[in-house]
């Protein structure tokens, strides 16, 4: 079938969404066209391409893109496609291409900014329409590419709000990734972990701010971490802070999660308040705070450290955890298949022990051996399978529906609840993107 706007709009109700939004391949194609190729999608961080010739590949919507550092030190984003016969130019996911891009099919070469440089037997093009100055013969550029403080985004369509306007309140996530560094800079660490979820991309985003799942999904890991904490205490030692990242899942219990509010911002972005208490009174943390005071002054440093976001969801592509310097980005591959890139950052001039916390979370929660995401991935796979069933047509978002508070275009979850506000909020944004008139952006 071919979906009309009315039919698409009818898939989202105030407190539920239709299962077809998750299971229909045609809807996935429309999502790529109307969302992932029509708004700002995360490409990567500037520190992934430090030197001239460094490049990084990522798929934006259905398009193969390359981000590179050119000979002047500027960052360029281009389609990873040769204008000659269409071959992909870079094949390794990341690397350094030297002084130019080189196509392995007929040896066309391009400057690092994508302009056509040369090819063998160049004179055979004399007297033809091939023009070295014509962008048609360059590596194509996306309609828009811009960065927010070094975090690069691509918009494959013209028009719509600029990047900063689109990001709106969600810029807090990126500000926090940088401002928490006493050296006022952040740097990506190594390569990312890449995980393929056998489920629809929306299921992942919905899970990130779903406060009612951790105590259930992650009970076994929380309990195992509690046992280890107890054993370490019995041996007369103090358990490392990172174990509390896991015991929180068991310690908080079901009701504990009601303390943390969720907020829905314009354009589909949303956040979950922090719960980990990452400012313990220990020498490492105190040394870090001292360096923050030194860098920013006490008042400004306290202002930065007071921002308490566990997850910021930058719709439709990022989940950022600023206090632990984690950033996940999604690359949807099919209606039932989603690639995630998981990155972590090092705060410049922070004590090594602060980096170790970030690394421990990266290992325990986000690595390919994680005992946390193991159960998440399993749930998402089960949801994807379950939703192919016609037993019911609807996915329920009823928890505290109708009880959220809206003030100045921002929605706040009902107090003392695990409101499903973020799930409703994202699906409403989804409906707006999917039903916008051609050329119009939500």
């Amino acid at each position: 079938m071919s979906w009309t706007k009315e039919q698409l709009a009818a898939l989202v109700e105030p407190d539920r969404a239709h299962r077809k939004a998750y299971t229909d391949p045609e809807i996935f194609d429309l999502e790529m066209e109307r969302i992932f190729e029509n708004t700002w999608i995360y490409m990567g961080h500037e520190s992934q391409v430090k030197e001239p010739g460094d490049y990084y590949l990522a798929q934006i919507g259905r398009q193969p893109m390359v981000m590179a550092r050119d000979s002047k030190g500027d960052i360029q984003v281009m389609y990873n496609r040769c204008p000659h016969r269409g071959a992909q130019i870079c094949t390794a996911r990341k690397g350094n291409t030297g002084k130019h891009f080189y196509c392995s099919y007929h040896a066309w070469t391009f400057h690092l900014d994508g302009k056509l440089e040369s090819m063998p037997a160049k004179r055979e093009y004399d007297g033809t329409n091939l023009d070295f100055e014509n962008p048609e013969f360059h590596m194509s550029r996306p309609a828009q590419a811009d960065n927010y403080r070094g975090f690069w985004f691509v918009n494959l369509s013209e028009g719509g709000p600029d990047l900063a306007t689109h990001l709106g309140e969600s810029t807090a996530a990126f500000d926090q990734l940088i401002d928490r560094a006493p050296g006022k800079e952040t740097e990506i660490v190594g390569d990312c972990f890449r995980m393929v979820q056998q489920s629809n991309w929306k299921i992942f985003l919905e899970n990130q701010l779903d406060a009612s799942h951790p105590g259930v999904t992650h009970e076994s890991t929380g309990k195992a971490a509690q046992q280890l904490e107890a054993k370490i205490r019995a041996d007369g030692e103090e358990p490392p802070l990172e174990l509390s990242f896991l015991t929180a899942f068991a310690d908080l219990g079901h009701d504990g999660w009601t303390k943390f509010g969720t907020v829905g911002y314009p354009n589909g972005h949303s956040s979950l308040e922090g719960y980990m208490g990452l400012r313990p009174d220990d020498p490492d943390t105190n040394e870090y705070v001292r360096r923050m005071y030194e860098a920013y002054g006490e008042e400004k440093a306290e202002e930065i450290l007071a921002v308490d976001i566990h997850h910021m969801l930058v719709y439709p592509c990022n989940s950022v955890q600023p206090p632990l310097q984690q950033l996940r980005t999604i690359r949807p591959l099919a209606h039932d298949k989603t690639l995630t890139e998981i990155w972590h950052f090092r705060l410049k001039d922070a004590p090594e022990t602060i980096y170790r916390r970030s690394l421990a979370y990266y290992y325990l929660v986000n690595s390919p051996s994680t005992l946390i995401n193991a159960d998440d991935l399993f749930n998402w796979w089960k949801c994807q399978h379950g939703l192919t069933s016609s037993a019911s047509e609807w996915v329920s978002f009823h928890r505290k529906a109708g009880h959220d508070e809206e003030r100045d275009g921002v929605t706040y979850s009902a107090p003392d609840s695990m409101s499903e506000l973020p799930l409703r909020h994202m699906m409403h944004a989804w409906r707006d993107y999917m039903t916008a008139d051609a050329g119009e952006k939500s």
Binding site: G190, F193, S220, L228, N373, L377
Partner: protein
């Protein structure tokens, strides 16, 4: 650097030591027994394979020479190994139900070096099939063991596991060690 990582990094990973048949057999038996403990899910016997400060290490990148302080696929001491066992055998470890099964074949066992104390560095290759949720997955790679000789036999001070596809992407989570 971590001492065990340093020892492994300093050893020529293509060296072939001239060891006795007894040493070769004892080392092989130890490595095969470790694989059997995983394949037969004898979790009670796992921790005793390692020294008190031993590590199980699967680096994220091939050129890594240190596990500590760097991103890894696995970097587990006795504490984290204990936690993994407790978690994976918990009745509500949802994604472990139904329980998975592993089957290893370990071969190409070559002792790189043997010191005066009888400690050895040994490399080998493995293939492992994992059956999980009615599907089979396949893993392959290289082991390098730093084995300490003790009165009770060998103990692992460091096991390095290099998966051939370490850069991923992963459409699974490695819940058990390979």
């Amino acid at each position: 650097m971590t001492e065990a990582c340093e020892i492994l990094a300093a050893s020529d990973s293509l060296a072939v030591a001239d060891v006795s048949v007894e040493t070769q057999l004892a080392v092989e038996k130890f490595i095969y027994r470790q694989a059997e403990i995983l394949d037969e899910a004898q979790t009670d016997d796992w921790l005793a394979l390692f020294t008190d400060d031993g590590f199980y290490w699967m680096p994220a990148e091939g050129d890594q020479v240190e596990g500590d302080g760097q991103p890894n696929i696995f970097w587990e001491d006795q504490g984290l190994m204990l936690m993994r066992i407790a978690r994976n055998t918990h009745p509500r470890a949802h994604s472990q139900a139904p329980h998975n099964r592993l089957s290893h074949v370990v071969s190409n066992v070559i002792v790189e070096s043997e010191n005066a104390d009888g400690d050895v560095i040994v490399r080998s290759r493995f293939h492992c099939a994992e059956y999980l949720r009615y599907e089979i997955r396949s893993f392959a790679g290289k082991y390098r063991h730093l084995l300490k000789k003790t009165p009770d036999g060998y103990r692992i001070a460091l096991q390095r596991v290099d998966l051939v596809n370490r850069e991923g992407p992963y459409d699974y989570v490695l819940q058990w060690w390979l």
